[in-house]
């Protein structure tokens, strides 16, 4: 959720209300849905917004720290919920920097859980993560080069120890992928997993003088950021004063200047920029929207509308008075209340967060 304010921007409610709902989710899952990963603490979007690798690492872990603090403040035992926290990172094009970043993340989180939060369960120390290859590194020019970039990025993620992987399609900068493009992205993973053998060894680059040095450096730099954020009062406070957002805007601008000056090479864009044939892109059929609207109408007509109203009222009351919202959300969902209807209650109770528009 914190990454929404920092990067992805699909926020709705103000930070403190958002954190309350997050903790409700973690609390509920810990008790009622114990094998569900209660949250995906994300760096991907932070990186895509223009953060450096160190910023992605530091801000993600700082977000994680904020959630753990909030859950402990709620009264939860760290070893009860920490094993089901999960993470989500970007895999960008600087191969060894990314591997070092993943390794640093795993080592730092284990330290944070053991030393800062006194977690005793070894499963609490594990940083389990999903990785997506970097959409922002892909180009509209010579789109087939993106198949190669994605393959290298996927390899870095596996060598860095990811549990789960998404590979982007070659037409990433154009549209939602075509069937052909997404199949190549899938085959990229299958070749990696089933032909190369790289997934058969845990941390195969451990002991490499270069990778260990990079890992150490990334860790040092990331601790600096975390220290700064701690001094501000934690990530919620840092977000409220615009700190990570400003850092990211700065990094994004710097990065673009490096590309524009050719200090950073982007093959096909500022070097080897030969023409390419146009590719077929996916286009949405307008009937899809009509079909969904029709479905929505039918549901609203055939559901038990008094029960929906009552369930929304229960959500409103719990939102105002306190108490875990999840049982009420589950109940509302069972009655076919819509997401919009639930959100309207929350916007009314908590207020709508608006983008401060830093640049």
């Amino acid at each position: 959720m914190l990454k929404e304010f920092i990067a992805q921007k699909t926020f709705m409610l103000p930070p403190k209300a958002s954190i309350r709902i997050i903790v409700d989710t973690i609390e509920y899952c810990t008790k009622e849905v114990p094998r569900w990963n209660s949250i995906s603490i994300s760096g991907y979007h932070i990186r895509e917004a223009g953060a450096t690798a160190v910023q992605e690492l530091a801000f993600t872990l700082a977000d994680g720290i904020a959630y753990v603090v909030a859950a402990i403040e709620r009264g939860l035992n760290v070893d009860d919920f920490a094993p089901r926290l999960s993470f989500f990172f970007d895999s960008h094009i600087d191969f060894f920097e990314e591997i070092a970043k993943f390794r640093a993340a795993r080592r730092m989180w284990a330290k944070i859980m053991r030393e800062r939060f006194m977690a005793k369960n070894p499963r609490s120390w594990m940083l389990r993560f999903h990785t997506q290859t970097a959409g922002c590194s892909l180009t509209a020019q010579q789109p087939y080069n993106n198949v190669v970039r994605t393959a290298y990025q996927a390899l870095a993620a596996v060598l860095g120890g990811t549990q789960s992987l998404h590979t982007n399609s070659l037409d990433e900068t154009y549209a939602i992928p075509t069937e052909e493009a997404v199949t190549i992205a899938l085959r990229t993973q299958q070749i990696l997993a089933e032909e190369t053998g790289v997934a058969n060894t845990i941390d195969p680059l451990a002991g490499s003088y270069f990778v260990e040095t990079l890992t150490h450096q990334m860790e040092e730099q990331a601790w600096e950021y975390i220290r700064k954020i701690d001094e501000m009062g934690g990530m919620v406070a840092a977000v409220e004063r615009g700190y990570p957002q400003a850092e990211i805007a700065e990094s994004a601008y710097k990065y673009q200047k490096q590309i524009d000056s050719s200090e950073k090479v982007i093959v096909g864009v500022n070097k080897y920029a030969t023409d390419h044939s146009p590719i077929t892109i996916w286009r949405m059929k307008p009937e899809i929207e009509q079909r969904q609207l029709k479905r929505l109408q039918e549901v609203k007509q055939t559901r038990n509308n008094p029960k929906v109203k009552e369930s929304l009222q229960q959500i409103r009351k719990a939102s105002q008075d306190g108490g875990n919202l999840m049982p009420h959300l589950v109940n509302a969902a069972r009655e076919y209340a819509t997401i919009q209807e639930i959100c309207d209650v929350w916007i009314d109770v908590f207020g709508r967060y608006t983008d401060p528009g830093y640049f």
Partner: protein, 133 residues
Amino acid sequence: MGRKIRILVAKPGLDGHDRGAKVIARGFRDAGFEVIYTGLHQTPEQIAAAAIQEDVDGIGLSSLAGAHDYLFPRVIELLKEKGAEDIVVFGGGIIPEEDILALKQIGVKAIFTPGTPIEEAVKWVRENIKPRK
């Protein structure tokens, strides 16, 4: 030396991808233009109103979520209704080649697609947008 060129950089619709808009806004500011950035989640009505209130010479619309073919024409329509069609409208983001022609036909003067260097956009603004007064 006349007054500086004033540009509104705007994010219409629900699209939260603001990296490019912010980089361009900053690039324009460094190039010496006066820049107002609307922030996210603007309706076409809000954009047209802001453009007129801020007395800008040009509007840069950013869209990466596919709604450009509704949102961009709507902004132009509103500017026309309010007698401000001399404000130059240009755009950027993820916009398919086929859509660019249609947008230009309804009055979007330029579309900047992925890979555009900041300087290219700056140069275009300098050459195509003059202070309205």
